[in-house]
Symmetry: C2
Subunit: 340 residues, 2 copies
Amino acid sequence: MDTRINRQWLLARRPRGMVSADDFQWIEVPTPELSDGQALLRNLYLSCDPAQRAWMARDSYVPAVKLGEVMRSGGIGEVVKSRHHEFEPGQLVWGVLGWQDFAIISPGPSSMISPLLPGVPVEANLSVLGLNGLTAYFGLLEIGRPQPGETVVISAAAGATGSAAGQIALIKGCRVVGIAGGPDKCQYVSELGFHAVIDYKAEDVDARLREMCPKGIDIYFDNVGGHLLDAALSLLAMRGRVILCGAIAQYNDETPPPGPSRYFNLALQRGRMEGFIVLDYYNRAAEAIPDLYRWLTEGKLKYRTDVVHGLENAPTALARLFKGENQGKQVVKVADPSQG
Amino acid sequence: MDTRINRQWLLARRPRGMVSADDFQWIEVPTPELSDGQALLRNLYLSCDPAQRAWMARDSYVPAVKLGEVMRSGGIGEVVKSRHHEFEPGQLVWGVLGWQDFAIISPGPSSMISPLLPGVPVEANLSVLGLNGLTAYFGLLEIGRPQPGETVVISAAAGATGSAAGQIALIKGCRVVGIAGGPDKCQYVSELGFHAVIDYKAEDVDARLREMCPKGIDIYFDNVGGHLLDAALSLLAMRGRVILCGAIAQYNDETPPPGPSRYFNLALQRGRMEGFIVLDYYNRAAEAIPDLYRWLTEGKLKYRTDVVHGLENAPTALARLFKGENQGKQVVKVADPSQG
């Protein structure tokens, strides 16, 4: 029996409205023994993602987290003990580790456990070289199919996925307009080189979009839903594409809000609105990672990380996403690496 | 000066709500002389199409009909006089002829004037071999890309476009479920060989769709919009497609109604919602017509025509579409062919 105490956040109830600490239960339990083929990780960073709200609520593209189960979360851990031939103490890996101090992993073809990329900061593996980067890459390039000179609009443009999608569109020669909330985020989006940025909290989004997209919107990369989706549909260019990546504006709503009343512009403009889930592309990560890695090291793909310290603050950190408080990728720092 | 009197319906005002005779003005004017390269047609049949409501209201994929202009309409006419080398009296042609007794046409590459297909009833050229057939053909096959065994749901399934789309889906080996309003239309859809039909006026559409589509909906061919679109999105199968062909439920609304609140199922199910306008495919009609013609003569593609007699009743005939009163393709019979 391992004598280390494992602190865990269990899902205590299905959320109603905004996620809160009351949706979870804190427990402290012993760390179980390893079986053959397993490894024990000390969690260093946990990734906060809007999709976690859906995992708490209901079965969707993955089964819901069960009540009483450790809250599901991506994260980075350090191997502290291993009975798997490919892992040894000190290694850092990415995986679905959960809100806890220690995770037992059983690496295998379907485990989504992957070693970190060397030569870049650890946190990059949580965002721009992780699921956010893959989401931006495959969503924009496979669903959106951008052409040089096209106008691309990105919502939640300061976020981990939106900022990557916008920068990839810039790399592909597009004119890129970001939408973000508040002066800090808008300032950041400008610094990334977007051609224009609209502060949806302070400006008339419809009027500013019309002004910034005089030839209409060829691609709208939607992380938000709600009114911004309608605003973009209203300005859809001929054969425009709407990439449905997220709908954070409504994840905390109990009943679905009205949908985009301008959806029929898709017919008038011969447009296409298409959704995707990044997990479908996970087995094609090897196509994307070399590009993302190169752009990162060339300074063309920037990111920033918003760190909340302490496992005990994981629920608070997750709620920051839905309140729009995070500046960049929201993570929870649980522990320092032993070699750090 | 031609001494024939030309009776015309002019657009008198932009419609508000349901179209009515008050939106038009009836005038009787002399028929103008022909110039070289023109032909004079006597209109025999006029086609009633939901899109005419949009043409009355505003510029969209084509410019709006101007106030004081003859109401725009497709139709079939007989050449009565010609100063064009390809046309001679007695010929029947399809074209955009307008709500009037006589139309002057200037045939040319962009005029959309086409001779009727021989060996089939004249009315077939207004529906199953006309724009409705092309709409069904390209919408279903190019946007929907049906595979044998897939489940296809068609709204307005008894209508000129819906009934053709459903029958083409049957020909392609799909399981086809139609939605129509009232026992007469549902009976007709059953006779066409659809696997199931749902009466949206009498049945719980959501419950019946769940029952009739146990594996979900692979393709939804939408002519209607409104609640039926949400019902279909709720049951979208993995990688399902929504073909946006029409939204007749809302064409008479002054402000856009709420859009489909279940649109985000497109992301969860990796689905695609795509619109099109049949005019984009007009120059590819030669790909579709041989198939449509063969299926028609083989009895696999049936149609029916709902005839209102008299040019004076054109506004009433158009309104029948939006009230769901028509049984099959709504046309106005203006005159008999001279050889008839």
